[in-house]
């Protein structure tokens, strides 16, 4: 019996270790690479659903977002730097939404690592965030994207056969206008 229990523990350990080692080996998504497939909980807010070009409940994939480019912010409600960066990302959102050349072509989402819906909603309310924040309460998405620190920004091209990563970086974005110019150039957006 003890041997069986021991084998079971070792099996669980090996499976978990393999998953974790593979996440840390993969590391963050690389520019020029393909974003690993992730399934995100659809927002229950109709305005946010419409913003993403989605309908109904359940889950969605990044390449289902109705846009040419998606900016993904990996954050946590409990992360002081993410809190500090929130107004800056709101400004980025406003710059995009107020420019007809970018509106509907560039969309932003946030993924709240180890945050419940309650917690992402608190973050949204506190900083008056208008783009969707998706909870990742059990670190599931976090493991797939290489267990990055926060805040982390990934930008992907949504047009084409693959979801190609065109930006992948830890920390603040810096000048929003420069950032937009950079992703417009990298994505070939016109």
């Amino acid at each position: 019996m003890t041997r069986k229990i021991s084998r079971l523990f070792m099996l669980i350990f090996l499976l978990l270790t393999a998953e974790i080692v593979s996440a840390s080996e993969i590391g963050p998504p690389q520019v020029g690479g393909v974003l690993p497939e992730i399934e995100l909980l659809k927002p229950d807010n109709p305005v946010e659903l419409k913003y993403l070009g989605l309908s109904g409940g359940g889950f969605f994939k990044i390449n289902q977002i109705k846009a040419d480019v998606a900016i993904i912010e990996i954050f946590s409600m409990y992360c002081p730097y993410c809190q500090g960066e929130a107004p800056h990302i709101n400004n980025l959102f406003a710059l995009i939404e107020n420019n007809p050349a970018y509106k509907n072509k560039i969309k932003i989402i946030g993924i709240g690592i180890n945050n419940s819906i309650f917690e992402t909603n608190i973050f949204k309310k506190k900083y008056k965030i208008k783009f969707p924040l998706i909870p990742d309460g059990d670190f599931k998405l976090h493991k797939i994207i290489g267990e990055v620190r926060t805040p982390y920004f990934i930008v992907v091209k949504l047009k084409g056969a693959k979801t190609e990563v065109i930006y992948s970086k830890l920390g603040a974005l810096g000048d929003n206008k420069v950032f937009i110019e950079q992703i417009v150039k990298s994505s070939g957006l016109k």
């Binding site: 523990f9 974790i20 993410c82 419940s116």
Partner: protein, 195 residues
């Protein structure tokens, strides 16, 4: 054989707990103690009882006594085990953005650890400006944690929440698994129950 099983369990849990304190604010300054015994103390207080009074120094240099708030504010005490550790570093920054909720329920928050003031000063500086008092239960070491029955055998406090009403009565206790962050929604639900 038992030792092997325990070792495997600890390793599994260590990896699970290591995903806290991911904020770049802490860079590589977080020490991960690995998975710890979930609870390692015996409570000395219970819901419905008057909370034991205490006086501690705060990082703000104020001297804070629990009784100062009686008749004025409800009190939430958040004991966390140690500065510069993963889960603790991922708890108070969340409380720091919900002052409005505490205000709605006429409540204040007191954060307590057994670390000394300079350590707490350095650590909490990474969290931005905190609206709540952070108290040091360093000397006599862990005396307040001991009064409440949340001092662990290794000298750090449990990860514990106490909600105390304006009359000084303990209304809620959550001695949480030290390896996990208590869900914020549960604390808010308890604040909602206060008169």
């Amino acid at each position: 054989m038992k030792k092997k099983i325990i070792s495997a369990s600890i390793l599994i849990c260590f990896f699970t707990a290591s995903a806290y304190a991911l904020s770049e604010a802490y860079k590589n300054n977080i020490y991960n103690p690995g998975e710890l015994k979930p609870i390692d103390s015996v409570l000395k207080v219970k819901v419905g009882q008057v909370a034991p009074d205490f006086t501690l120094k705060a990082v703000s240099r104020k001297i804070i006594s629990l009784k100062d708030y009686y008749g004025k504010k409800n009190i939430v005490i958040s004991f966390v085990p140690a500065a510069w550790t993963p889960v603790c570093s991922d708890q108070w920054p969340g409380y720091n953005i919900v002052k409005d909720i505490f205000d709605n329920y006429d409540s204040i928050l007191l954060g307590i650890t057994v670390d000394n003031i300079p350590t707490l000063y350095s650590w909490t500086n990474q969290m931005g400006k905190l609206w709540f008092e952070v108290l040091s239960d360093f000397w006599p070491h862990g005396a307040v944690a001991e009064k409440f029955g949340v001092l662990r055998s290794d000298g750090v406090a449990e990860r514990a929440l106490f909600v105390i009403d304006k009359k000084g009565i303990i209304r809620y206790i959550d001695v949480h698994n030290i390896n996990q962050r208590p869900p914020l929604e549960e604390l808010i639900r308890e604040l909602e129950k206060l008169d």
